[in-house]
């Protein structure tokens, strides 16, 4: 009972924290800036987005994004602005074009190749003979150990 109460307290406190956050910076513009920043890579710490990076350059770039949003430029224009200066690498999702073709379709090509290999292997296996026939004296050995090959009911009866 006590633990249930504790859990409830934690759950509800989490809700209230989120509510406060949503109230303080939940305006549409802030959300847009946040979403944009998450699409942009920080060039200093390359595996972090602009939104998460503590680097100074990221701060400057966030300022740039914020100013351009305030100036009424579209998301597309802002991303273009950064790509012109830092290249496609600044985007987390690379654009689909000739140089990134392999990047985009490579996994699907690999998947198709793997599927073909799988189908070919399965077919070859099906065509192969099921089990090699036992040589006569091997068969006798098996029968001596396991008993004569017979329908299961009969063998059960024999055991009793």
């Amino acid at each position: 009972m006590k633990s249930l109460l504790l859990i409830l307290i934690f759950v509800f406190s989490a809700f209230t924290v989120n509510d406060v956050k949503a109230q303080t910076n939940g305006t549409q513009t802030e959300q847009r800036i946040r979403q944009l920043s998450e699409k942009i890579r920080c060039l200093v710490c390359q595996n972090q987005s602009l939104a998460d990076s503590p680097a100074e350059l990221a701060g400057d770039m966030r300022r740039e994004v914020r100013e351009q949003v305030a100036a009424g430029r579209s998301d597309h224009q802002i991303l273009d602005y950064l790509v012109q200066r830092y290249g496609d690498f600044v985007l987390y999702e690379p654009p689909f074009k000739a140089t990134t073709l392999l990047l985009w379709i490579g996994p699907f090509v690999l998947l198709a190749v793997a599927a073909l290999v799988l189908v070919a292997t399965l077919r070859r296996r099906r065509r192969a003979p099921d089990e090699p026939a036992l040589a006569a004296d091997d068969k006798r050995l098996v029968e001596r150990v396991l008993g004569p090959a017979a329908p299961p009911q009969e063998r059960d009866g024999g055991a009793r």
Binding site: L57, D60, E64, R85, Y86
Partner: protein
């Protein structure tokens, strides 16, 4: 036997990819600005804050724009190379003093030598963003028409200067 050769072949191919991958430098992002006109700016000059400089003044000359800061450790490592290059007088070197404090920047130049024809002050890093700067030092070779021909990310070394910058600059100066 062929069964075992297949995985071995794939393994060797993967090792090959990884080996090539190890020699690549993910820090060096190719700049989309190479081959494009150098972005314009209008910035105060470090030693004469009441004077301003625009890159248009360098029209007709092949020149280097070096982004530096007194807080940047690699810049100190690079500095002797720039001083040597300035001594040879092959081409003018201009500095873009990036997100620095004026007095610290001038003190730094006094201490280590000033290879720059002049330095301009980009105190809030806006021009740095226009030039796609993400790690100081960076150096741009700009031709007589104001087009960026080469970008060095990270410190210049004497080897890079001799092998890349000087040959390219001489070809552009003709």
């Amino acid at each position: 036997m062929k069964r075992f050769l297949w995985p071995l072949g794939i393994f060797i191919l993967l090792v090959g990819f990884l080996a090539v991958g190890l020699t690549l430098k993910p820090r060096e992002v190719p700049s989309p600005l190479v081959g494009k006109p150098a972005p314009a700016f209008d910035l105060p000059v470090l030693h004469q804050p009441d004077k301003r400089f625009v890159p248009g003044e360098m029209r007709g000359k092949v020149w280097l724009l070096n982004v530096w800061a007194s807080w940047c450790v690699s810049c100190r490592e690079e500095h002797p190379v720039l001083v040597e290059l300035a001594k040879r007088g092959v081409m003018p070197i201009l500095g873009l003093n990036y997100k620095d404090k004026g007095d610290e920047a001038t003190a730094w130049l006094k201490r280590f030598g000033d290879p720059y024809q002049l330095s301009v002050v980009d105190a809030d890093g806006r021009i740095g963003i226009d030039y796609g700067v993400y790690g100081v030092p960076e150096t741009y070779l700009i031709d007589a028409e104001g087009v960026i021909r080469f970008k060095q990310i990270g410190p210049l070394t004497m080897a890079i200067v001799e092998q890349k910058v000087l040959p390219l600059a001489k070809a552009l100066q003709k």
